[in-house]
């Protein structure tokens, strides 16, 4: 069972069972953005309220597997009230966390991988999000974990123009 426990950490199941920031925000001022994982039907919808370079509020809806929904919930908690620049760094750090598997496939066992993803990301604190690191051992599920973050990136790109 150790593999499964790695994937479904307690904190992940907690976010899955009790997702944070569920709901909608009025559009505008919020920006709505959505994404799908066509393979498994995961769906993430984000409402982002960006003001003066800050993510002042965020709500999420959609449906999907525990990993995609927990990742969405954890992400929403991590970005709320943060400057957009910091969120952008977080996105990169999270993506780096999700790609550890590819770069460190050999002898990945035991390494916590927190140094991966380039030196400029070295100091980024992922906090609870690090619980999602177990996903990299299950390659087909990586897309589930990264979906919300791709949608977030798209949302930030769209609000920036």
């Amino acid at each position: 069972m150790s593999g499964l426990q790695d994937l479904y950490r307690e904190i992940i199941l907690d976010h899955y069972r009790a997702p944070r920031n569920r709901g909608e925000l009025p559009v505008p001022p919020a920006h709505k953005v959505e994404g799908f994982n066509p393979l498994c039907g995961d769906e993430v919808i984000l409402y982002l309220e960006v003001e003066d370079g800050m993510v002042v509020d965020v709500r999420t809806s959609g449906q999907g597997c525990s990993i995609s929904q927990a990742s969405t919930s954890m992400m929403s908690a991590a970005i709320k009230g943060k400057p957009v620049a910091e969120v952008a760094t977080l996105i990169r750090a999270f993506k780096a966390l999700m790609s550890i598997h590819e770069s460190k496939l050999e002898g990945a066992d035991g390494s916590d991988g927190s140094d991966a993803g380039g030196t400029d990301l070295a100091g980024v604190r992922l906090g609870d999000l690090e619980a999602l690191q177990g996903v990299v051992k299950f390659p087909v599920r990586i897309k589930c974990a990264t979906l919300a973050w791709n949608v977030l990136q798209q949302g930030l790109d769209e609000t920036a123009v």
Partner: protein, 413 residues
């Protein structure tokens, strides 16, 4: 232990992969609807081709080239007999069922369908029998009409006559790969024929699971794949009436499909080779022949009885154990469905179900099963699907039930 129509223990011994373990557990393979495992007889037949008789077919006059050609054409004859074709030349080897259906779409349909012509498909169809027609619609402006479903995912035929009225083709699956629904092909084909429509049957799931007689169906085109039929991947077949094949333009051009080529043009070869441009999958064809031999020896009536029995057992124990928490799609009994059980478990996503099952060595499929129009109809993004082959038994179903109990523990709110 087994009360099924087959001596499953003996059959299991024929499948080398079933001896391996996954995560320290016995491999429980419940994804035969996606692709079936291969018996030793198929592996041996293919191995023998490469070791003893491998050469290109229909080319050389030397001994092993003749042997390879004989084996290749013998495989065609076996496949033809297996599905009730009148002649071996009515079997065109393709890469898979998808290519067989595309052959019909690119050759027959493009030669015969005009803008505004209608074809009729069902909402049960696999993408393989949907997308080629979407492509043709975009290219030709044909109309696609859909046969709706009943609440238990059978075809709702109440409006069939109107749907078929003036239609040029009916394309329908003989057995759904999601709900297992068995379609009364003979009845539909008769109705289509009466309306003047041609009939294309996607028999990808039916051919491995039940006796199929394409002549009795009275269809025009029947597509199926070897890899779901205990044979190798990389080969499949299109059965079509000889006179239709004769009249159809070639699909792809190249070697093998010609009788003559000049700087001015070409003459096509006889059927079926007219549709087999290029060097075919030779060992795979032989493997497919060995697979139908294997199934023939078991007997397709016994295979069907086994599938029905195991499906009934699965439906019974799953509802017994989980009740309303488990929502099974498709016809209620096992009589009108193949060995496929697609379900939702609470609101736990199919990916999570199959992930936990994998930890127990159980292979079940999670996703939309390449049938998104059907999934939309069901109103779900994905289902978990367990499907049965000749090598599955009640112990496999019991293992699934045990895994679902684990899922329940893991994800219960």
């Amino acid at each position: 232990m087994s009360t099924t129509a087959l001596d499953v223990a003996r059959i299991q011994a024929d499948f080398p992969i079933l001896r391996r373990e996954v995560r320290g557990r016995r491999l429980v393979y419940l994804d035969s609807a996606s692709s079936a495992q291969k018996p030793q007889a198929v592996l041996d037949a293919m191995d023998r081709v490469y070791r003893e008789s491998y050469a290109n077919v229909h080319r050389g006059v030397y001994t092993i080239a003749e042997e390879a050609t004989t084996l290749f054409e013998a495989a065609r004859a076996k496949v033809a007999r297996f599905v009730g074709a009148r002649e071996a030349r009515e079997i065109v080897f393709t890469r898979n069922a998808t290519e067989a259906i595309n052959l019909v779409a690119y050759s027959w349909a493009r030669a015969n369908l005009r803008p505004g012509d209608a074809i009729v498909l069902s909402l049960l169809e696999h993408h393989a029998n949907v997308v080629p027609w979407h492509i043709l619609r975009e290219e030709r402006g044909i109309e696609i009409r859909w046969i709706p479903l009943t609440a238990d995912q059978r075809l709702d035929l109440s409006d069939l006559d109107r749907l078929l009225d003036g239609a040029a083709m009916l394309g329908v699956t003989a057995m759904s790969n999601v709900t297992g629904t068995i379609v009364d092909v003979a009845r539909l084909a008769a109705a289509a024929r009466a309306a003047g429509a041609h009939v294309l049957v996607d028999a990808c799931q039916a051919v491995p699971q039940m006796p199929v007689d394409v002549t009795a169906w009275d269809a025009d085109f029947v597509a199926f794949s070897s890899h779901k039929l205990l044979g190798p991947a990389g080969i499949g077949a299109l059965w079509a009436r000889a006179e239709l094949l004769e009249a159809m333009p070639p699909f792809m051009g190249g070697g093998e499909m010609i009788r003559d080529v000049t700087t001015d043009g070409f003459l096509t070869n006889d059927i079926p080779w007219k549709f087999e441009a290029g060097t075919p999958a030779i060992a795979e064809a032989v493997g497919m022949g060995a697979a139908v031999d294997y199934l023939d020896a078991i007997g397709m009536d016994a295979v069907r009885a086994h599938e029905r029995e195991l499906t009934r057992y699965a439906l019974d124990v799953l509802t017994d154990r989980f009740g309303d928490r488990l929502r099974v799609f498709g016809p209620a009994g096992a009589d009108d469905r193949g060995g496929v059980v697609s379900f939702l478990f609470d609101d736990i996503h199919a990916h999570d179900v199959s992930q936990v099952a994998d930890e127990e060595g159980i292979c079940v499929r999670a996703g939309h099963h390449c049938a998104k129009p059907l999934m939309r109809e069901l109103g779900v993004p994905a289902t978990t699907r367990a499907s049965f082959g000749v090598y599955n038994d009640r112990a496999d179903v019991d293992a699934l039930v045990a895994a679902l109990t684990k899922v329940e523990d893991f994800f219960s709110i």
